[in-house]
Every structure is written in C-alpha cells, then in structure tokens.
Amino acid sequence: MNDNNDTDLKIETWRAALLRNRAVSAPDVDELESHLRDQITDLEGAGLSNDEAFLIAVKRLGEVDPLTSEYARVHGERLWKHLVLADGGALPTRFGTMVIFALVAVVVIQTARLLSGYPQTEQPWFLRNLGFFLLPTLAVYFGVRRGISVRRWTVLGVVVAVLAIAANLIPHTAETDILVAIHLPFLLWFVVGIAFVDDPRSSGARMDFVRFTGEWVIYYVLIALGGGVLLGLTGLILTPIIPNGMGEVFSWVLPSGVAGAIVVAAWLVEAKKSVVENLAPVLTAIFTPLFAIMLVVAAAGYAIVGFGAEFNRDLLTVFDILLIVVVALVVYAISARPSEAPAGIMDVVRAVAVVAAIVLDLVVLVALFARVGEFGFTANRVAAVGLNLVLLVNLLGTIWHIGRLLAGRGRSLRVESWQTSYLPVFAGWLLVVVAVVPLVFP
C-alpha cells in the first residue's frame, strides 16, 4: 500500500513536469498517465519492483523535453500561446533588429512624403502608393528574422515589383486612386504573410498568421492611442511657444509614428505574446455577444426600413468594416477555442452574429444592385459588390460549419480551415481591385 502511494507521488511529480510546458494539456497527460500505469502494471507482473517498474516505464515513455516539443508541433495553437518559451524561446526577440527596421520604415515614409511635398501638395501617387511605403519594410523584417530562403526572397521581390508596376503604369482616375490606396495595404499584408509563414499551404501556418494579424491590430491600436495622447499633449504644450510651427512638427512626427509602429507592433506581438494572448480571448468573449446584439438590431432595422436615401459610400464602408470585424471576431474566437470541446453557448452567440451579418450583407447587396441597375457599374460599385459577395460567401461557409458544430456533427477545426482556405479568395479579390478594375474603368 505504501509502495502504491509512493508511485502515485512520483507520477504526480512527473505529471507536473509535463504540464509545465503549455503545449501539453491536462487530458494529454491523463492519456500518458494511463499508458504509464499500464506499463507499470505489466512490468510489475513480470516481477519488477515498484520503483524499477516506474523508472523503466517513464524511460520508455521518453524524456519530457523531446516529448513536449513533439506535442507543441502537433498543437500549434497551444505553442502559439507560449512561443516565448521559458528556456529562452524558439524565436529570439531581438530588440536591435526591430529598432533598425522601425527606423528604415520611418526613413522610407519620410522620403516619399518629402518627394511628394505632402501635406502642402497632394500628389495622387503618394496616397495610391502609401501601402508600398509602409508594408514591404515589415515583410523584409520578417524575412530577415525568419532567415527565409533565396527563393522566397525572389518571390517577395517579384510580387512587390509586379504590384508596384500595376499600381503605377495603369492610368488612374481620382476614383481608382482612392480604391487602390484603400485596397493595396490589405493586399500587401498578404505579401507580409509570404515572409511570415514557412509553408503557405499549411492551414496551421496560415492560422498562425491570422492570429498574428489579430494581435498586431490590438498592439497597433494601443500604440496609436498612446501616440494620439502624446501628440495631443505636445500640441497643447508647444503651441504657445511656436504657434506657427506645429503643422511642420506633426508632419514629421505623425507619419514616422504610423510607419514605425507597424514594425514595433509586430515585434511586440512576438516579444510580449503572453500579454495580449491573455487579453485577446477576453476581448472576443466580451465583444462577440455585444456585436451579436448590435448586428441583430441593425439587421432587423435595415431589413425592415431599407437604406433609402442614407445609402452612400461612407455608410457602405462602415458596413464592410463591420462585416470584416464579425468575421475576425468569429475566426479569432474559434481559433482560441479548444478544438475538442463540444458546442457551447458561445458557439450559439457566434452563430447569431454570423446570421445577422449575413442578413446585413444581403441588405447591402440588394441596395448595391439597385444602384447598379439604376446608374450602371462604376469602379467603386464593382469594388463594393465584389467585396460584399466575397464576404457573403465567407459568412455562408462560416455559418454552415458553425451549424454543423452546433448539430454535433462537425468540429471547430473545420471553421478554422474554411477561413484559412478562403484567404486566397480575399487576396485574389484585392488583386482584382488593384490591378484589373482600374484597367476596366480608365
């Protein structure tokens, strides 16, 4: 009896050692423990003592470190939560590299700004190419940090070059200038993804990039808020001394901050992962129900009242942002959800949010098609109809998989893999808007 207690104690210690690595969950250790106890029973049956049986069984199961890192490889999402490992980490968080690249980003944006004379004169090429001044630096930063192959550097270079040629050789109108200015940064974000993920075809790798994007946005918003407070106070403090120079100060500080923060936020995501990692699930848990309520109210309202005269480009943009936020909330919440868990109340809430989003999207599309029927296609309307159709298909697929999950027939991984396999559609549509639409509407 005493011996058994002794074994239990040893198993307890062994469990704790495994659980110290967050890639291994408690049920995983339960499973390993069941194996360990089977093995001990068998070894004892063969005449070994309690102690000997435990030692051999543990040894056969394998050393803790290689075993947990194998779990980490399979359960990427858990690894993601703990990329900054206790032993120094899989990803070194080099501060110097980040500072250099943040400075490069600042130099790039300021050079472009000075060349265009912004904000005194507004050259159309400056806004249209804004994405090129901001995001390739981030792609190079990840390329350097990840030590990507020559082949991938070539792919990156060619993609950016082709996009730059497309954005600048095609003649633009004021309308398509703005369209490209809006869509190009998002398209270039996918290019950053080429540098970020090792295997672009792997769903898990794409999901990592999606998670990175979510956390990057949170950090960027936090930095922007802080920067806003800083700039506001600077303005208030310095205006009495240099009443006429503030515009000049801001035109140096603001673009530098916007560009530099892109790299800093990316660095923070990896360096201080655990901070936002704990924050993000809480944020989605709070905001998913609130957004669900807001969406239901809005969907019901607009479905009954329709758009009427209120329908314009600004409102349309707001709707599209809302729909993208819904998709992002769902994806983010699903990705943080334990994939083995059965469907719960939060899945119902997500389903409600998605259904309401689908209704809203349909209302928007009906209004858009009415516009098109009345006035014909313009570049803006093509971009709007396309984006809303792309979102509609995405939402329909999402609700299908969430529905199956609720019916107990699907798994949450399906929602994830649906979203990751849909990413090229988003990228493709952005490419169409940047490179094809301006050709069609010269």
Binding site: P27, D28, D30, E31, L32, S34, H35, R37, D38, Q39, T41, R60, L61, G62, P66, L67, E70, Y71, R73, V74, H75, S339, R411, L413
Partner: protein, 115 residues
Amino acid sequence: MNVDKDLVAAMATPLVLAILADGSSYGYAILARVRELSDGELTWTDGMLYPLLHRLERLELVAAQWGVSEEGRRRKYYEITDDGRKQLAAQRRQWITATRTLRGAWGDPILSAGV
C-alpha cells in the same frame, strides 16, 4: 537491428492506421501490437505515439473517445475514420511500390519467391 529514425517516422502513420483498421484501440495496445508485428525490432519512444495520434485526429483520419479500461482507468480509444481508410489505402500503394522497387534493385529472393 536498429531501423533508421526517419524510416520509422515515415512508417508510423500507415502502421498506426493499419493497426486501427483492425479495430479501435488505445496507445499502449497499439505499441504492443507494433512490437509484436516487428518482433521487437522497431523501436519507438513510447510517448511519441501520442502526438502522432493527435495529429491523425486533427487530420480526421482517426476519431478519439475517452473510455474506461477493465481496471477502471480512464483511457483514450482511437478508431479509424473513412478518411483514414482512404489514406491508408493510398499509403499502402506507395509502400508497395517502394518495397517492390527496392526488392527489384536488390534482386531480393523474396521477390522471386512471389511473396
């Protein structure tokens, strides 16, 4: 004889799927079966089976369910899915091609015996 690590790793998936194709099982029993099938010549760090099983579960090639052993211990049972059977059939064809090619190259007497 020690089989090369990479080769063991490559064999692991079809081997586990094939064992599960005979009926649902759990980790400890799968490993016992591997030992039996290879006459103890295939060595494997026992624990590494579990991450592999989890990966197969993720790919929906196997399905898992918690159950209870005869001794009343909690135990996770794995069962092959239809996708798993398809995957097994595909892998089987590949391995047959691979072994046939190697045997041909080596002039293996087993081949001429028609086994």
